[in-house]
Symmetry: C2
Subunit: 124 residues, 2 copies
């Protein structure tokens, strides 16, 4: 699973650095059939998802990945499930928030797009 | 997504009640190609997975689900991704552990089996 893990790492590095510096740039990672469930709210399609992500009420955000696991998600296609747990530092708060996020990545012309995305903050 | 959520709830209710009362009974939910990544350790196949789960070093365990989200995971098959965050109470400890778990469920003869399973404890 070395390749899967490398792909997952490359994806999450790119995803979170884009999220933290230029949220509108995430739109290219989603397609019309992509799903995001954000804190229980279901959103469908790249445009709707990007609108949600760019309207989140924080000025400055930083994701710090704590754990990253990946598995192939299909016996026939080179898709993968990526599970992340980490910390979200919002607006330089000294109290980072714990989060869990799951992606399913689907191969598409030499790259991948996000078909599934589920995000949750974890409150103690 | 009402059906998807109901299926996810039914599955996790069954999965965690079986885990908490009769861990060996989980074997029937996995197949030979099922994957479990347990705290970063990759395991393949129902027998290997069940051996791991039944050998975990706690006598008594209780899962308490905090959040449960589900999405269809394929455009062609009625499979689904289930993302859980919750608390694990081990051996009546007063300090429950936070965990995140992701499943992909694949339809199989009127029921579902677990193709993907990723489990992580979340340390603050």
């Amino acid at each position: 699973m070395a390749d899967i893990t490398a792909i997952a790492k490359q994806f999450t590095d790119f995803y979170y650095s884009t999220f933290d510096t230029n949220r509108a740039g995430l739109q290219g990672l989603y397609r019309d059939n992509s799903m995001l469930t954000w804190e229980g709210q279901p959103l469908l399609g790249a445009a709707t998802i990007t609108e949600k992500l760019t309207s989140l009420p924080f000025e400055k955000v930083q994701h710090k990945v704590t754990t990253l696991d990946a598995q192939p998600s299909s016996a026939t296609v080179a898709s993968l499930i990526v599970s992340v747990t980490g910390l979200l530092v919002v607006d330089d708060s000294p109290n980072p928030l714990q989060y869990s996020q799951v992606f399913q990545l689907i191969p598409d012309g030499g790259s991948y797009y996000v078909f599934n995305d589920i995000f949750r903050l974890n409150y103690a």
